[in-house]
C-alpha cells in the first residue's frame, strides 16, 4: 500500500467516497479507502495537500468530516469532524502553518487551529461555491458563490473582507446582471484574481487598483463554467464547462486561444502542472485525461484512464515528476551510457577518427553546397 501511494502523482476523489491515486508512470490507478465505511455520504468534495512537502492529503467529505491520508504510509490516519450535512458540502479546504481552513456551502468559513479548541468563524454570505487560498500569501482566502460576489478575506482580520467585487454595470436592457461565481484562482506574482461564472463569463479583478469592477471580462460558450486552472506563465487561463468543453483563454485580450477535445461530460476538475505544459482534466464521464497545452492534443503517454465512479476533484502532486520527464530521464540515461561507450571505444582507437568525423561532415556540407552551386550554374547556362 505504501509503495503504491508513493508512486501516485495524481490524486482523485470520487462520488462513492473512494480516494484514488493514479501512478502515471505505471499507468494504473489505485483505490485507497476505508473499507468499512464506503457510502454515498462519504462522497469526497474537496482535496488539498496537508503540508508543503506533499506527504499528506486532506480529504473533505459530504458528511462534514475531514480525513487525513498519508501518502507515505498509504493509509488514512486521522478523521476530524468539521461540520455536518445540514451546512452543505465543503467548497474549499486549505491549510496554513498550523491551522485548517474549511468553508461550506452555507457560507460558514472556519479556521481550526491545532492544539486549541477555538475556532475563528466568518460568515461569508450564503450559497458559496468556491473558496481558495492564495498560494503566496497563505492567510488570504477568496470566496464566491451564487449571488455572492467575490470577496477576499484576510484571516488575521476576520471582520470585513479586504476586497469585495462590485457587480458589472447593467446590461444593454438596463437589467441587473446576475452573479454566480463558480471558481476562483489567484494569479501568481500579482494581486489579481480570476473568476469563472455560471453565466459563462471569465473575469479578472485587481484589488490593487481602486476599481472594484472587473478589469477584464471574457465569455466562452453557452453553458456554465465549472472550473478553471492557471498554467505556468501569466497570460492564460483554462476553463471547463458543464458540456465537456475545455478552452484556453488569453488574459491579455480576453480571446479564446483554443479548445481541448475529448471530454464528453461536465468538467469537474482541471489542473495544470507547474513545470511541464500539461493539463489534466476529470469529469462526470469517468475519465482522467491528460492534455498537452502546447498543441492541445491529448497526450498519448497517458491514455484516458477509466474510473468506475464519477470524479469530483483532483489535483497533481507537484514534486513527483510526470511520465514524460520520468521516461525521458530513463531513456536519456541509457543513451548517455551508450554514447560514453562509443566515445570510449573511439578514443582508444584513435583520436584522429573523431576529428575526421567532424571534418567529414564539414566536407560533406561543402560538397553539397558546391553541388547546388553547380546546378544553379547549369540552369543559368541552359536559360
Amino acid at each position: 500500500m505504501a509503495d503504491k501511494s508513493q508512486t501516485c502523482s495524481v490524486w482523485l476523489g470520487s462520488e462513492t467516497g473512494i480516494l484514488k491515486g493514479v501512478s502515471l508512470s505505471k499507468k494504473r490507478a489505485f483505490n485507497f479507502c476505508d473499507m468499512s465505511s464506503v457510502s454515498r455520504d462519504q462522497e469526497i468534495c474537496a482535496l488539498t495537500w496537508g503540508d508543503r512537502q506533499e506527504s499528506e492529503v486532506l480529504v473533505g467529505c459530504v458528511n462534514g468530516s475531514v480525513k487525513t491520508f498519508s501518502t507515505e504510509k498509504g493509509v488514512f490516519t486521522e478523521t476530524r469532524v468539521c461540520g455536518d450535512i445540514s451546512q452543505g458540502r465543503f467548497t474549499g479546504i486549505a491549510v496554513t502553518d498550523r491551522s485548517l481552513i474549511t468553508c461550506v456551502e452555507s457560507g460558514l468559513l472556519k479556521v481550526w487551529t491545532e492544539g486549541s479548541a477555538d475556532t475563528v468563524e466568518i460568515n461569508v454570505g450564503g450559497e458559496v461555491c468556491r473558496m481558495r487560498q492564495n498560494p503566496s500569501q497563505r492567510h488570504r482566502v477568496a470566496t464566491g458563490g451564487k449571488e455572492n460576489p467575490l470577496k477576499v478575506w484576510d484571516l488575521e482580520r476576520p471582520d470585513k473582507p479586504i476586497f469585495t467585487a462590485k457587480n458589472v454595470a447593467n446590461d444593454w436592457l438596463d437589467l441587473r446582471v446576475p452573479v454566480w461565481v463558480r471558481d476562483v484562482a489567484f494569479i501568481p506574482d500579482s494581486d489579481r484574481i480570476v473568476t469563472c461564472t455560471g453565466y459563462h463569463q471569465v473575469r479578472v479583478y485587481d484589488p490593487s487598483t481602486p476599481q472594484r469592477r472587473p478589469v477584464l471580462e471574457a465569455e466562452f460558450g453557452e453553458y456554465p463554467l465549472t472550473t478553471l486552472a492557471l498554467p505556468a506563465g501569466h497570460d492564460r487561463v483554462v476553463v471547463g464547462n458543464t458540456h465537456g468543453q475545455i478552452a484556453i483563454l488569453d488574459l491579455r485580450k480576453g480571446l479564446v486561444r483554443g479548445c481541448m477535445k475529448g471530454l464528453a461530460g461536465s468538467v469537474r476538475g482541471l489542473q495544470c502542472h507547474p513545470s511541464s505544459p500539461l493539463l489534466a482534466s476529470c469529469g462526470l464521464d469517468r475519465f482522467l485525461r491528460i492534455h498537452s497545452l502546447e498543441d492541445r492534443s491529448t497526450v498519448r503517454l497517458a491514455p484516458p484512464i477509466l474510473f468506475s465512479a464519477l470524479l469530483n476533484v483532483f489535483f497533481f502532486s507537484f514534486l513527483l515528476k510526470l511520465v514524460g520527464s520520468d521516461a525521458a530521464g530513463e531513456v536519456e540515461e541509457v543513451k548517455e551510457e551508450e554514447r560514453d561507450e562509443v566515445w570510449d571505444s573511439m578514443e582508444t582507437v584513435s583520436e584522429k577518427g573523431e576529428k575526421r568525423t567532424v571534418e567529414e561532415e564539414a566536407e560533406e556540407s561543402r560538397e553539397t553546397a558546391e553541388k547546388k552551386e553547380e546546378k544553379k550554374k547549369r540552369k543559368k547556362a541552359k536559360k
Binding site: 462513492t16 483505490n31 458543464t242 464521464d285 464519477l310
Partner: protein
C-alpha cells in the same frame, strides 16, 4: 479514343454472340463509362457483370470442392467482417465482477426502484400543441407502459411541472417532442432527483401501420428485455429503461417489451409470445415501434441550461470512427 471505340464496334457488329475471349484486348486505361453510346455501354456493363459473377461462382465451387476433399482438415470457415465484429473495444465495457461498478449501481438514483421499494408511475406528455400522430403515439405508449398517465401539456414549463410531479409521487416524466406533425424527440426524466436522458426518436410506427399485428395489449405487466447495453453508459441507460416497468412481470399476459441496442440505436418493440410446443415460439407484434438514439444524459432533473451533463453526444468527435460506439 475514337480509334479504340472503332476497334470495339468492329468485332461487335460482326456477331452479337461473340464470347468475351474473342473480343479485342482493350487498353488498360479504358473504362466502360467512356463509351458514349448508351445502349452499347449498357450492354458492355451487363456483360462485365455476368463475367464477374461467373468467375465468382467458379471460385466458390473450387473452394467447396477443396473443402470437401480435405474433409476434417479443412480450415474453418471464414467469418465475414461486419461493423459489429470490428467494433473498437470500448474501455468502459463493464466487467460483470467489478465491485466498484456494482457498488456504484447499488447506491445510485435507481436504487430505490431496484431494491423493490417503489413501483413506477409515469407521466407522459408532449411538447405544446401536439398534432394527431403524436397524440395517438402517446396514447399507445400509455397502454404499453403500465401505470402511465397522459396529460395535455398546456404550454407549461417543465421546470415547474417537475416539482408538482414529485409531490404527486410520479417516478418518471416522459416528454415526447414533436416537429412538423411527427414525434422526433423524447426526454425521459427520472423524478426524485434522477438523471435526464434526451433521445432522438425516429421511425415511429403506430398500431394501425403494423402488418400482421395482434389484438391490443392487455393490462398485464410486460416482461422487459434489454439487449446489448455493455458499456458503463449503456448500463445507466439500460437501468433507466428497466425502471419504467414494474418489477413483477405477469407471465400470464405473455407480453414482452424489448429494448435492443445496436450501433448506438435503441430499437423498441412490443410483442406477445406463445409457446406452441417446447421448441417453437410464435410471436405477434403489438403496439408501437420506434427507435431511439441517445443525445445527452444529464445528472439531476431537467435543466438543460444549468444542469451538469454526464454524457453529451458530440458529433464531430464521436462519429468520426465508423466502428466506435458508446452505448
Amino acid at each position: 479514343k475514337l480509334l479504340e471505340e472503332a476497334e470495339e464496334k468492329g468485332p461487335e457488329s460482326e456477331s452479337a454472340e461473340t464470347s468475351s475471349s474473342t473480343r479485342p484486348a482493350l487498353p488498360p486505361t479504358f473504362s466502360l463509362s467512356e463509351i458514349k453510346n448508351k445502349q452499347r455501354r449498357q450492354l458492355m456493363f451487363m456483360k462485365l457483370k455476368q463475367e464477374k459473377r461467373k468467375q465468382k461462382l467458379e471460385l466458390r465451387k473450387k473452394r467447396r470442392k477443396e473443402r470437401e476433399a480435405l474433409g476434417d482438415k479443412a480450415p474453418p470457415k471464414e467469418v465475414p467482417k461486419t461493423i459489429e465484429n470490428q467494433r473498437v473495444y470500448d474501455e468502459t465495457t463493464v466487467d460483470p465482477e467489478d465491485e466498484e461498478v456494482a457498488y456504484d449501481e447499488g447506491t445510485d438514483e435507481f436504487s430505490a426502484y431496484f431494491n423493490k421499494l417503489i413501483n413506477p408511475k409515469v407521466l407522459i406528455t408532449t411538447s405544446d400543441r401536439p398534432r394527431g400522430r403524436t397524440v395517438r403515439f402517446c396514447e399507445q405508449l400509455a397502454t404499453v407502459i403500465p401505470n402511465a398517465h397522459v396529460y395535455y401539456r398546456r404550454g407549461l414549463a417543465l421546470k415547474r411541472v417537475i416539482p408538482q410531479c414529485i409531490s404527486r409521487d410520479f417516478t418518471y416524466l416522459m416528454v415526447i417532442n414533436e416537429d412538423r406533425k411527427v414525434p422526433n424527440g423524447m426526454i425521459l426524466c427520472h423524478l426524485p432527483d434522477g438523471p435526464t436522458a434526451h433521445f432522438k426518436v425516429s421511425s415511429v410506427r403506430l398500431r394501425k401501420e403494423m402488418k400482421r399485428r395482434g389484438k391490443d395489449p392487455t393490462e398485464h405487466y410486460p416482461e422487459v428485455i434489454l439487449n446489448n447495453f455493455t458499456t458503463r453508459l449503456g448500463h445507466s441507460i439500460g437501468r433507466l429503461f428497466a425502471a419504467l416497468f414494474p418489477h413483477d412481470p405477469q407471465f400470464q399476459g405473455r407480453q414482452v417489451a424489448t429494448f435492443h441496442n445496436q450501433r448506438d440505436f435503441i430499437f423498441f418493440r412490443f410483442h406477445r409470445y406463445i409457446f406452441r410446443n417446447e421448441k417453437k415460439v410464435g410471436i405477434q407484434e403489438l403496439g408501437p415501434r420506434f427507435t431511439l438514439k441517445l443525445r445527452s444524459l444529464q445528472k439531476g432533473t431537467f435543466d438543460s441550461k444549468f444542469g451538469e451533463y454526464e454524457w453529451v453526444h458530440k458529433r464531430h468527435e464521436m462519429d468520426s470512427n465508423r466502428r466506435k460506439f458508446h452505448l
